[in-house]
Symmetry: C2
Subunit: 359 residues, 2 copies
Amino acid sequence: MSVELEGRHRSVLRLAGADRGAVLLSSPEDVRWCCGFTGSNGWLVVQQTRAVLLTDGRYVEQAKGEMPSDVEVVECRTSTAMVEALAAVVVDGPIAVQEGHLTVSGWRSIHAVIGERLTAAGPELSHVRREKSGDEIDAIRRAARIADDALAACLGLFRPGTTERGLRDALESRMRELGADGPSYETIVASGPRNSAMPHHRPTGRAFESGDTVVVDVGALVDGYHSDMTRTFFIGSPEGEVVEWYRVLREAQAQAVAAVGPGRAVKDIDAVCRGVLSTAGLDGWFTHGLGHGVGLLIHENPFINATSEAVLRPGDVVTIEPGLYRGGFAGMRIEDLLLVTDDSHEILTSAPKDPTCPR
Amino acid sequence: MSVELEGRHRSVLRLAGADRGAVLLSSPEDVRWCCGFTGSNGWLVVQQTRAVLLTDGRYVEQAKGEMPSDVEVVECRTSTAMVEALAAVVVDGPIAVQEGHLTVSGWRSIHAVIGERLTAAGPELSHVRREKSGDEIDAIRRAARIADDALAACLGLFRPGTTERGLRDALESRMRELGADGPSYETIVASGPRNSAMPHHRPTGRAFESGDTVVVDVGALVDGYHSDMTRTFFIGSPEGEVVEWYRVLREAQAQAVAAVGPGRAVKDIDAVCRGVLSTAGLDGWFTHGLGHGVGLLIHENPFINATSEAVLRPGDVVTIEPGLYRGGFAGMRIEDLLLVTDDSHEILTSAPKDPTCPR
C-alpha cells in the first residue's frame, strides 16, 4: 500500500476514535479515498495492520484492478453475507461505523450479529477527506477548467430563442469533448422571472426572452472529483432593479470570497456576505447556505452557513455562492470554487462575471 | 389532491402499519411518488387528513409549483429545524420512519426530540411503489424505446477503432436528441477480454479490437423514470468457446424471461436461469443477481435472486439480466426490461439480440 493510503487509514482510525480497533467505512466516497475502489456497493474494513473490502460479485474483478494488492477482497453475495464477513474479519473488539451514512436497517443487521461490539465513529470522521492532496487538487482544477472552457464556448447561445435544455445539452457535450467523465451534477439552466427564481430548477424547453436573467450552474467530473460554478447572464439590455440586485450580489460574493482563508470560522464568512445584502435590504431573498466543500462528493464538509461551527483549514476546497430569488421578478446566483491555502485562498474558477451577453 | 395521490397516501399509511398515525417519508423517490416534489432534500409527513413537505430554501418555490396546493410546505433552514418542524406537525402519536433509508444520525436526531413516539415503518413500505400506474408505465416505455433507438443509431460504431468512451458519448447524445432527460445511470461500455469481464466497468479510452466482446448497458431517463437494457456484441467474426457461451446465455435469459408472470416466486425464476447455465457447466461464471425492479429508482424492489422471498405481481417492472464473466477471456450480459401483466408479461425492450455487428 502507498504511504499516502497508509496515512489515510491512520487518519480514519484516529478521527473515528478507533486507534486500536476497527472502522467500517460504508460511504462510497470514503471507501474510494481509502483504497481506490469505485463500485457502488462496498464496505471497507480498516484496522491498524489490515484493510479488507467486502463487495458483491459484480465488483470483485474491478476491485482487484483498482486497489493495492495488499487490500484483501471478500465476495459477498447478499447483504446478510456482508455482515457475516464483517464479523469474520473483525473477530473481537469494537467496530466503529459511520452514523451519518449507515441506515437504521444496516445498523440493526450488524447489531444482530456482533451485538455491543458495534459502536459509532466519532463525528470528526465525516471531515476526514477535507485536506485535499496535490493529486486531488489537480483533478478539481482540471474539472473547474473544463467547466470554464465549456461555458466560454457556449456564450453565443445566451440569446433569445435558446432553450434551457438546449444550453444544458451544449454545455454537457462540450465538457465531454474537453475530457470530463460527465457533468458533476444535474446542470442547472434557469431562465426568466419564474424559473431563475428556483435555485435548483431543472432545465425545460422554455426559450430565453429579452429581459430574462439566466442562471447557469455547471460543473465537470474528472477522475471522481467535481467542480462547481454558477454564473448569471442578462438576455438583452437589463435595466432598473435587476441591475442593482446584480451589483449588490456581486459585491457580497466578492467580499465573502475575500474573507476565505485558513482559521476563518465559516459562520463569519457567511455573516460578511449577509451583511452586504442586508445593507441593501436584500438579505431576505437569499434563502440558502453560502457554500460547501467539494471533492469526491459535490456537497461535503465543510458546509458554510450561519449555524456551522467549522473553521477553514489549508486544503479545503469550498464554494462561495450567494443568490437572490424573487419569484415573478428574477433570480441570480454567483458561485466560485476556492482552494484554501496556507495563508489565504486561490480561486479555481476563472469564468468572467460580466452578466451582459456577447452580441 | 388527485384521487391517485390520495390512494398512494393510503397505501403508505397501510403498508407502514400506521393507519391512524403518521409516516415520515425520507426517500426522495417515495416523496416524489406521493406529492410530485423532485428536490434532493425533502421530508414528506403523511397523515390521514394532511400531508406536509419539509424542505429548505432552495426548494420552496419549486415545491409549490410541483405539488398539489393542499400539500403544505414548511421551510426549514437547517436539519435541526426540520426535526423541530416534524414535531410541530405531528404533535402526538407515533411517527413511523423508513429504516432502510434514514441514517442512524437521522434516527438519533429525531429521537432526541420526539422520544419513544419514533417507530419503524413496516418493511412492506419499501414495496409501495411496485405496482406501476398507466402514466408510470408510459414513461418507462418511452425511456426503453429511446434507449433502443439510440443503440440502433449507433450500430455502425461496433467496429475496430471505436473507443468505449466514444460509443458511450454517442449513445448518450443520441438519447438526449431523442428526448431523454439524460442517461438512466452511468452507461457501461465494456470491451475485450478484461473490461467486458467486469459487470460494472466504467468506459475508458480502450479501442475495440477484432475478437472482442463488447457489453453495452444503457438506459434513458424520462420524467424521473428509468429504463435498463444490456446487449453484447462481437467485433469481427467470433469463433469457438465465446460463441457457445453466448448461445447458452441467450437460452438462459430467454427461459428466465418466459418464466416471468404474476404469482411467480422470484427465486424460482432465478433457478430457471441458473439451471440452464448449470447444465452447460457455466453457472460458476454468473456472479450477480438475475434482476431488479425499475421505476423512479434504477434498482428497486422486487430484487430477483436466489434468496429473496418476493413474488411477482401485475404492475411490477423488472429486469432479467444474466451474465457470464471470465477475466482474460470474455464477459457478456443480456438484459431485457419486462412489465408483469395480469396473466403474463410484456417485454419493453425491443433491441435485437444478434451479437454480430453490421459490416
